[in-house]
């Protein structure tokens, strides 16, 4: 490739000084030029054929997607009775998985929007695939409430305010409708933000591609971007505005999701701590998922120079901090159960800890409260396999959290005569694991066809990008 340009002065010094291992504080490995960043990141896409590891993973995920489609077809044919939901536990896996997936998505927006506003440079190399993760997670999340309606083909007039021949309108006093607005806005804005971030990189792909038809496809989606100063000026303003808009949006989405619970009167749901505690939990699980994905991706594609130990460490620290907020939420729930002197609340927490689902609660405390405390130690944060294991543990813990909140509260209602037990059926598990397959499958497609790291942003943080004062030239 002809993109190795003559090294500039600062490039030279970086090269000379940087043969040793990069320091942990670096957000990019030493010795990189504009050309090396471009060729490294585009090389994952502009190669002939498929790498065997990619192909195996892709096909496995594709197989799981088939199982997912089978499970959904069965549910459409037979009805939601295939699932374990019953009266009193009408929300089961669907809402557990919905909240879990939506929460995972939050890290992508946090990284791309909030960290952009705080000018955190370490955001740049992970924001692209974290945003992709957001979009795919929201897609997986959407499956559950839509199929939970039982008749998804009718869900349009139940959920969206559009003029229909029956003259019906949604009930805007219901948090469930708020949720429709929050999640659909979130999905739209996430896609827009992701696409805007991609435009300059798609132009790079257009200019790098050798084959004409590939050039054309990237050319169309790049919209004719040519990196003009006037483009960049508007582009930067638009990015900043989108970040400013996404920040309150991402905080509102899980807040509104928590309203689905908090606005009800059920003990264990009706709590003012829910919005902040849900948002923290969302970011917690999202960063866990980013780590779960970033660790194998960086190893497989050799992206250690771009996703450095600084990134890995910072993500671990965010996980630790948000994990503590979540743990505080659990403590407040227990404290309020005692402090409120409400016998319903007291029963709720006793039932969670020692009732039929006690093992779920203690597994949750272990996964979300105790094991992540290891992240206090730098040795643990620098240990990639251990960090990977912890990120999986946190993902499981966050799923358990939603399970505990939803199932224990619903299964033990106010009246003992309406008590009941709940367990997911085979179809529940097939749908849940199926969405994981869909998520991974989409991610494999993304890694193969879209630059996984923002090239134009990476160019801005290497030394040659710095404009020296006029007289120095």
């Amino acid at each position: 490739m002809a993109d190795r340009h003559a090294p500039t002065d600062s490039h030279d010094t970086a090269h000379a000084a940087g043969m040793a291992r990069p320091p942990v504080s670096d957000v990019v490995g030493p010795g990189h030029s504009f050309g090396s960043i471009t060729s490294k990141i585009t090389s994952a896409i502009l190669t002939k054929g498929f790498r065997p590891g990619w192909l195996v993973g892709f096909l496995l995920a594709f197989g799981v997607v088939q199982m997912f489609l089978f499970a959904l077809t069965a549910v459409l044919v037979k009805g939601v009775g295939l699932w374990g939901i019953n009266i009193p536990v009408g929300w089961g896996f669907d809402i557990i998985n919905f909240v879990w997936w939506i929460g995972i998505g939050h890290a992508g927006t946090l990284i791309s929007a909030i960290l952009l506003l705080f000018r955190q440079k370490w955001r740049m190399s992970i924001s692209r695939f974290a945003e992709a993760m957001t979009i795919f997670a929201v897609m997986c999340a959407a499956v559950f409430p839509v199929f939970h309606t039982g008749r998804p083909w009718l869900a349009a007039y139940w959920l969206f305010p559009y003029p229909n021949t029956m003259g019906l309108w949604p009930n805007f006093k219901s948090p469930l409708i708020w949720d429709v607005f929050a999640v659909s806005t979130y999905a739209t804005v996430s896609v827009l933000f992701w696409y805007v971030g991609l435009i300059p990189d798609l132009a790079t792909m257009r200019d790098r591609a050798q084959k004409l038809w590939i050039k054309r496809i990237y050319g169309i989606v790049a919209l004719g971007w040519r990196g003009s100063a006037k483009h960049w000026q508007r582009y930067e303003i638009a990015s900043l505005l989108l970040a400013g808009l996404s920040t309150p949006l991402v905080l509102s989405v899980h807040t509104v999701v928590s309203f689905d619970f908090a606005v009800s009167l059920l003990p264990g749901w009706h709590a003012t701590v829910f919005p902040p505690y849900f948002v923290a939990g969302a970011i917690y699980s999202g960063f866990a998922m980013v780590l779960t994905l970033a660790i194998p991706i960086r190893a497989y594609f050799g992206m250690e120079d771009f996703i450095t130990m600084r990134h890995i460490q910072n993500m671990a620290k965010v996980m630790l901090a948000t994990g503590l907020i979540v743990f505080y939420g659990y403590a407040v729930e227990a404290f309020m159960a005692w402090y409120s002197a409400s016998s319903w609340e007291g029963f709720m927490i006793a039932n969670r800890m020692f009732g039929n689902y006690w093992y779920m609660y203690w597994a949750l405390i272990l996964c979300n409260g105790i094991i992540p405390q290891l992240l206090w130690f730098k040795k643990v944060r620098m240990n990639i396999p251990l960090l990977f294991a912890i990120s999986i543990v946190v993902n499981i813990g966050m799923w358990l959290e939603r399970y505990v909140i939803i199932v224990t509260s619903l299964s033990r209602d106010f009246l003992p005569s309406s008590w009941g037990m709940y367990a997911g059926t085979m179809w529940d598990w097939m749908t849940y694991i199926g969405t994981m397959g869909l998520f991974v499958w989409l991610l494999f497609l993304f890694l193969r066809f879209v630059p996984m790291i923002s090239m134009f942003e990476m160019r801005t943080i290497i030394p040659p990008a710095k404009v020296k004062p006029e007289d120095a030239h």
Binding site: F172, P200, G219, K230, L241, L249, P464, V467
Partner: protein
């Protein structure tokens, strides 16, 4: 403008540079020399460029503000109309126009319309989508999205003169100067 000698009509001249510092300095000198129809093409945003080219501030933020206000009022109006006029429903004895409950969807529509305006406004103000542009005729320009920096002076510039402008660009110490066929 006064192009009769070249066979394909000339759109302008394109000078190629190899560093961010060089392009900013060249852009500044070109503007100071009195050229107005100039543009710089860079593989990443360079903030010094706005000053070097004395770019006017974009009106995008005002458009986004308009989009946001429209989204807020529209979202609120939709809920008010649906809940009180089109389909009044007594939900737990609450007033039909329970405005506190309408805040959440109105908040979301505010953000939705602002974001849509920001994205489509940016694309429109950039004059995109425009798959074809004369600068793409220069073979080296494919590096503008990689590691090279370009400065163009268009023939529509009142100060443009084929020979003098080329000599001026050569004086900026570029890697090369090319004709942009239109």
């Amino acid at each position: 403008m006064h192009q009769e000698d070249t066979a394909p009509k000339l759109f302008g001249l394109l000078a190629e540079f190899d560093s961010a510092t060089a392009i900013v300095s060249a852009a500044r000198k070109t503007r100071e020399a009195g050229y107005t129809k100039i543009d710089a093409y860079t593989p990443f945003p360079i903030h010094e460029m706005d000053d070097a080219l004395k770019l006017k501030r974009t009106r995008l933020p005002w458009l986004v503000l308009g989009g946001g206000i429209t989204g807020m009022l529209g979202g609120f109006a939709l809920q008010y109309w649906a809940s009180t006029i089109a389909y009044p429903l007594n939900i737990g004895g609450r007033p039909l126009a329970s405005w506190p409950a309408f805040i959440v969807p109105a908040y979301e529509t505010t953000i939705l319309l602002s974001a849509l305006t920001a994205v489509f406004g940016m694309i429109a103000l950039c004059g995109l989508p425009r798959p074809y542009h004369p600068v793409f005729n220069v073979p080296q320009f494919s590096n503008a999205s990689g590691d090279r920096f370009f400065l163009s002076i268009e023939t529509t510039d009142p100060k443009f003169d084929p020979a003098a402008t080329r000599a001026f660009l050569d004086g900026l110490n570029p890697l090369g100067v090319s004709d942009i066929a239109s």
